[in-house]
Subunit: 237 residues, 6 copies
């Protein structure tokens, strides 16, 4: 029934390749089916003004799509003179999600910026950015630990994200673009490795959903996140 | 236990005054405790380029805060040269939520813009904007119906929104600013009159939540939205 | 002869409601007929860079119109990415006018920002902003005096403003929108309580005026300002 | 008593050199003492959107200062990404003033843009821009008349401007920079050749003025404008 | 003598992988040593306004660097609100260079946009962008030819680019970042397959060069471009 | 054969008038035929952040065109909200070229900004800006020397620039606008007084050139620069 022929609760193939750029403190290229995102983590020994002298660190994120990551070319945001509302919304979500898994006191007064750049898009780019972004963050933190710059590990848990939605009347896991563009209801679920929720965003455009349907999607999301966490752990091992 | 002395499941006093500006096709001043938002609805007999010749209408929203709606003065976005990420995120949410309650074919090729301007802020401005924005929308649509410009009512249901969160370890309804700034987890729940969900956004900054907690907040939200819908109906009667 | 039926030298009804927002140090909602402006005054214990270490304070103003304060909706300046020329011109005038009534040495090195946001427009918004802005400023200064933060009162006089113009060949006081949009000549007169002039702006678009006509308008303006000063004094009493 | 040694009612030397650029339809370099402004008039056979199909023409103006036209270098507005409030205010004034002298029906549906670029500033740049801008406009219109593109002359009168102020307690004509920066009250007076007023802007920063003082400045302005009109006529002859 | 141990006239290893994104009409990932650029070509069946109804096509280019393509993180241009001067300069050069190899009449009224996004930078990104951009362009044109949308091949020749410079007093081919940051003189040479020059940019910061030195660099460039052309041909075969 | 009737190797008449504005530390109006550029040099006793505490000075340049310096009016960059790509490219070139002739250690920690504003354009504005900009720089440095603020002269040589191109199949010196707009190949050559090269930019739009042609243009450029250097020396003498 799904355009890809997948089962309702079947994820796309996941691949996470680490160490893909020589400059970044942590990096990976995450592929969730045909959605490919390059994630890099940059460590800076300073925090934004609002965090100075707080004894705590900060984790933030930026998101972008290459102009031809999509089926038809998008205008380059840099040449348009501003980031669109969707971009701003997504990068705020990525940053907030990753911070939920960080003990900012243990991180100390430094900032880690996670850049997520979509090389190729086929649905679920914000979820792939969070899942891949966490890997880049993990690798950067490992580097700090190895260098003796951290006393304890500031990462409290994996953070991973998956989208689910109601497609053709059925709850499905890990929407690809053909599903995403047709689904009446879709949600993004960001969780820790133990299934605790960090953020839930579930919206309907021109439709609605019941609490029962919300619970069905949460069941799917728990399954998907468990698989993503396994892939993260394999990648950073 | 709550700073305001309210019960855990107690809303702030709601007041919705309609017809507050002479120019707008629909308008109201909604007061949820000390949060006051002026909502106006503007009808235009044209749709944005991406909707032209679709036979469907469009509903969109814009959001702003007066510089001194807050405890300390915020910089005016117009003089800063752009809307901040939070503003963009909120106005997209308002527009999406209101559209969920609209039959866009029945609306016909016209656009209704709902402006939500926060006069005084004390937490929950986005929820008040949605609840009040629906009233302005309802009044503008009523005007079209009365003028014979619509064959059937394009509004399928009330749309209302409330925030809930976990404050001092307890689930509480309708967070005010002192609660909002302390809550580890908070969510915005947008629903129709019958309790069907339109959008759920539940996030934790530096914390997490379980599915059980999510369900507790949903229970509170259902109670709150029912009260808001009653207030909307009383206002437009 | 006037669309409103007023006499040539008759002001619109004036109402000044104070204390309309809980956060601002001073605030009022001024209504000059159907022109309604919300004015707030914000005290900050710092001055702009060009005034630092001068021993003097600063008073500045910002002006905005809500998108649907007007008959047809205006684009929101924040979403357009800049303040229009008219806005910039008006807020510079408000600031300059209010400063004329302030002893900046007596104010000390602090800044008061007066925000004037037009809720509903029907002509004369800049004059209403100055007249209402002075009330907000007066209330904020009273707060400083009461708190013992000022040795002497830095406000030397009321500052109030009224527009006059030549409408249908006759000099008229306090133009409303139907008059303003038809008048060949119109002027804004900003004065102190004793009738001393602070600023005169009198312009003709596609027309001209004689010195005799200018004097007729000044006569009207003196009458109008006296009534505005009385309303200010009643409001702050 | 004046820094320049001039009499109270004495203008600076005026020079208006025409035909200074080969491309513009009309051009002049006006020198009022050490204030030098290059004015060009450009004719385009189209009007802005709001004037289309009105049967009327439009005259508009833009104003700029070269970065080192002033004593210390100003930042270039093009590199700052926007025109400052003062620039916007001035160019609106120039356009409005020149339009007052134009029969826009006689001009026909075409636009004339007058660019005023300050090469060297020593006070009074906006007045010099209006006076010189009118010469450029006159020359461009002459070209249209000569080419047979106009049936009747759309210029109804010369338009010229001069500043006056109260300096060291005395009313003085045609302020230069040392006077302008010290004057408590200063005004710009835009008039036609017959002394009819087009625009009056008279302001006091931290001071006030009486109607008697206003009349003294108007007397000076009439004298100054008469001399400027003579210089304009000599230049275009 | 070179930091990399290369001979003076030795290029870095070149690799050009084609078909790297599924959406673009043509794409490649070019690697010149540690400089990696993703190039995509997008065909649109419309031309910019200035080319409409000319019977000719247009080729343009955009350039960007991922924030962490460099040794320390660069600010994202999209979030800064504008493309920097260097970016603008480079993308104009890429577009101009590629157009030199295109018969725009044979291309017909369509536009091809070549996006060059630097994934990892180690000197010579603009040259890699041109060389890789040509491959993406070639593949996109091949697609048009295969689909029967072109009668004759609009690409007249390969276009490739290499940098040379004077490093430690010696002329060297294909500067990497350590060389580039030290070189007193460096140049970019864009050529066709037959060695004809399209663009030469040779500059010295705080130094100069003789015509003899310029000729030495041109000799090196001819050698380098020949190798790049061979790599291009191998990639598109 | 040339539209102007000049010989292939004949420059346009050069005139350099110095001291044209009273405020700038150095200034000139350079006229190369009908191309007229006003150049001013401003000395500031501070350097940009990236040069602080380096013991070295900085020379930078800005470039602009008056809106009606061209045949049809260009939009004013200040009102467009940004400098175009061409402007940015040119002002970076001017700055880089002038710096090549400066011993920045001898200059000491101060900045000289050279503003080049095109009053009238007829081709070759960037070359005229460099040649005239050097004169303004020379005069400003002379002022520092005369005031005893410099121990040794930081200007190591004249810097001058000329354009050459292939017009109607022939190499020609000092292109004017009619030639520039038709030339298939054109180049800008920036040199020192001794003929050493500072920057070469030679480009072909939709065409190519051989090394032999490049050498012919270099021969012409050497002749032209020699004449420009003589004119510079005469002007500053």
């Amino acid at each position: 029934m799904r355009p890809s022929g997948r089962n309702l609760d079947e994820m796309r193939p996941i691949s996470i390749e680490t160490g893909v750029t020589k400059h970044a403190e942590g990096s990976c290229l995450i592929r969730c089916g045909d959605t490919h995102v390059l994630c890099t983590a940059t460590i800076e020994e300073r925090v934004p003004p609002f965090m100075r002298n707080s004894g705590q660190g900060w984790v933030t994120a930026e998101y972008g799509m290459l102009p031809r990551s999509t089926s038809s070319r998008m205008r380059r945001e840099a040449s348009q003179g501003k980031q669109g509302g969707r971009t701003v919304e997504i990068q705020r979500l990525i940053g907030r999600s990753l911070r939920a898994g960080v003990d900012r006191v243990a991180l100390g007064e430094r900032q880690i910026t996670v850049d997520c750049d979509v090389i190729q898009a086929d649905g679920g780019t914000r979820c792939a950015s969070i899942t891949g972004g966490w890997v880049a963050l993990r690798l950067a933190v490992n580097k700090l630990i190895k260098a003796g710059d951290l006393i304890s590990d500031p990462l409290m848990s994996n953070v991973a994200a998956v989208s689910c939605g109601i497609y053709a009347g059925q709850p499905v896991l890990d929407l690809d673009y053909p599903e995403d563009s047709e689904a009446g209801v879709d949600g993004n679920f960001i969780m820790m490795a133990n299934g605790q929720l960090i953020e839930t965003q579930m919206s309907a455009e021109g439709a609605t959903y019941s609490r029962a349907q919300m619970n069905e999607l949460l069941d799917l999301a728990e399954k998907g996140v468990a698989e993503l966490v396994a892939a993260q752990n394999a990648a950073v091992a």
